[in-house]
Symmetry: C2
Amino acid sequence: MAPKRICLIGAGPSGMSVLFQLEKLRKEGVDVPEVVCYEKQSNWGGLWNYTWRTGNDEHGEPIHGSMYRYLWSNGPKEALEFPDYTFEDHYGRAIPSFPPREVLFDYLQGRWKKMGLKEKINFKTVVRMVTFNEETDKFSVVTENLTERNLTSKIQPTEEFDYVFVASGHYSVPYVPTYPGVDRFPGRVMHSHDFRDACEFKDKRILIVGASYSAEDIALQTIKYGASKVICTYRSKPQGYKWPETIEERPIFTHVDGKVVHFSDGTTAEVDAIMFCTGYLHYYPWIEDKLRLRSVNSLYPPNLYKGIIFTPEGHNGGNNKMLYIGTQDQYYTYTMFDVEALWALKYVLGQIDVPDKKTMRANLIGWAERLKSSKDCYADIDFQTDFVLELAKDCNYLDGVDLDVTKIFYDWHHDKEIDVLSYRDKSFTSKFTGTKSPIHHSTFMSALDDSKECFMATK
Amino acid sequence: MAPKRICLIGAGPSGMSVLFQLEKLRKEGVDVPEVVCYEKQSNWGGLWNYTWRTGNDEHGEPIHGSMYRYLWSNGPKEALEFPDYTFEDHYGRAIPSFPPREVLFDYLQGRWKKMGLKEKINFKTVVRMVTFNEETDKFSVVTENLTERNLTSKIQPTEEFDYVFVASGHYSVPYVPTYPGVDRFPGRVMHSHDFRDACEFKDKRILIVGASYSAEDIALQTIKYGASKVICTYRSKPQGYKWPETIEERPIFTHVDGKVVHFSDGTTAEVDAIMFCTGYLHYYPWIEDKLRLRSVNSLYPPNLYKGIIFTPEGHNGGNNKMLYIGTQDQYYTYTMFDVEALWALKYVLGQIDVPDKKTMRANLIGWAERLKSSKDCYADIDFQTDFVLELAKDCNYLDGVDLDVTKIFYDWHHDKEIDVLSYRDKSFTSKFTGTKSPIHHSTFMSALDDSKECFMATK
């Protein structure tokens, strides 16, 4: 029998975990399936692969990246650390708990390089269409290889696969609502997807629309780099942090008149820029209807058994062979992706069984119901912990290593509630090395240089 | 025999001319083919349909529009006027020669509304894939209908067509080169595709990369709305206009260091923003290889017989049934699209014959050779005049009306060379009404309000 073929779409942290676990299994002597990985960017790392570009890349493809300069982890590294490749393994010493992007990316790459994964990726290759043929029980995947200025790019012969793993991410295509007057606002109107360098907003007054992670982080960062005022406007409830004087929150705005924003509480304010921090779309235009996940961003997108196997109501959706990796909203990140990757591979290998469709759907609906009744972020953290631990158990991830970092998340969240300006200055203890991380030489709000060199300097 | 089916992609000026000419033929009693028009935007007009959005639209689709606020025609309206629907027909009186966007768009829409064309368009429908089946001699077209937040968007059943008319435009997907240091520039870096409101750049110093129409227009406009300084940087030759003191030209830059731009002549300058006015890509990722035009922007893109029928070397490229409308760079605009539209429809109707492939290729290569030897813009204008006149003759456009506006283009170009700040204050005479246009109540450089209401006011 020919080996099974898997099409893996995306070489960000999720896709790379698939490649990593595959190589690991291969080295352990398992007769692994063939995995063909397509990545539209010219480097691995997904969102961690920073680009200054916005809009379209040099080939005309929409820019994947939503990463901006001066981004520091907004959660402790101890909550995303790999048990089999700790930060101390990578850096040879303990480092502070909230590293900037470059330091995290370097860490990820260390694990990938160790396994020699770069050569496993078809870079600059865009998936144009994924379809499933019921009769042959195979997927057809149309890809296109990009070259300079798009003049000689080539659609490649359609390839056939037994499975498709979608790991293309869901923080790349912005959702941007509209409000009256925004079309005539005399200044920059943008989504955080296009945010790159906070220095642009020096001495500016910014309206930030949204009340989630991007709003919080970009409000702090623009102030840090010189913005004179930030007003965050929320639809349901304020973020509620103890902001510095330069940041305030107001209820949602109703309209803009010139530069003047009118809020629903009757107040007004003049601003120089409007930034929508209004989230992202699950956007898979290259996946045919019957295989396509349709979801808002969620800790449990619908119709995914174990959060992975596409199991829609009514039709077969690829006969349990259409898998999504890393589509959840995240407290857990790298470890969750890693567990999902191993789970998916062991499933393809026949080492994990799935029940009949009715049972699968009852299971996924059960998780969705539980999420619906989740009362606060602590319940959300518990929800995702249980989700990760169940998958880990299913696939015997690292022989049963305990991935539960609930306490770290609780403490982190509590720290933020106490002081949003200094929660990144705290220190956490690695579950896997037992080391309590050192305190960084500079506080987050005073650290303007986000380079690895500066961060790794001992003082 | 079943009527022929044409898939028309795009409802900008080119696509709308196809629909207009089709309705006109139908009213004349011609047994016309069925034309199914797909438009991804929610309104007609292509680039003339201004949106404040940049990046992605509310469905996640890349934004088509490159239109910015306060744009005024950069050529006289007398050079784009339809003989059968003059500006006087539309507005009931003569208006100045260089109208702002809203006035031009209103004019276009008047002609389309008269023919009741809106109902002929499938709005919010994106073409995902066009392929050609040699055996059936038919095209397959996969489309997707967009709805809010992309949660219920549907890929529609694949439709079959005898012909495909691509009128999707080629000023939508930016080409953005890179230069050392741009990735660390502490300010906004953008392409003119994302330029919307010049007020954003009040009191700013801007580096504009490029020396063509966008560079010229945006340099003037940003200064007009308060930018303190614009430096245009050119690769081959400067624009060479008599700029105001606040605009200057320098040779290409080699790198940026912080905010400091280093030019190849050894000079430096500090700037606050970098804008690439570096043009656009012909970008058709949804067209399979063998049907896809590959071209840089050009007055005569390669492999198009009569500038319309895709006639590649080597393979059949859709058996002369893959047509491109409005793919040329433009002196002539609306009238050229209109002539191409009628030519294409008459060709499908069998009223225009094409020779054997060898002759077709010799013809298109002949045009390309002539273009290559074109010495200056005056020769370019002559080139496009001859191109338009030949098509018009082939299809007996409006019983042989004379579309030649060479003299208008010559005069316009001469005016610009004399004074780039005031060429839009000149007046031209309509070839079709004989009326010399009135002088506008405000000079271009003093007219800050670009609304139709303000423009149409008599003083």
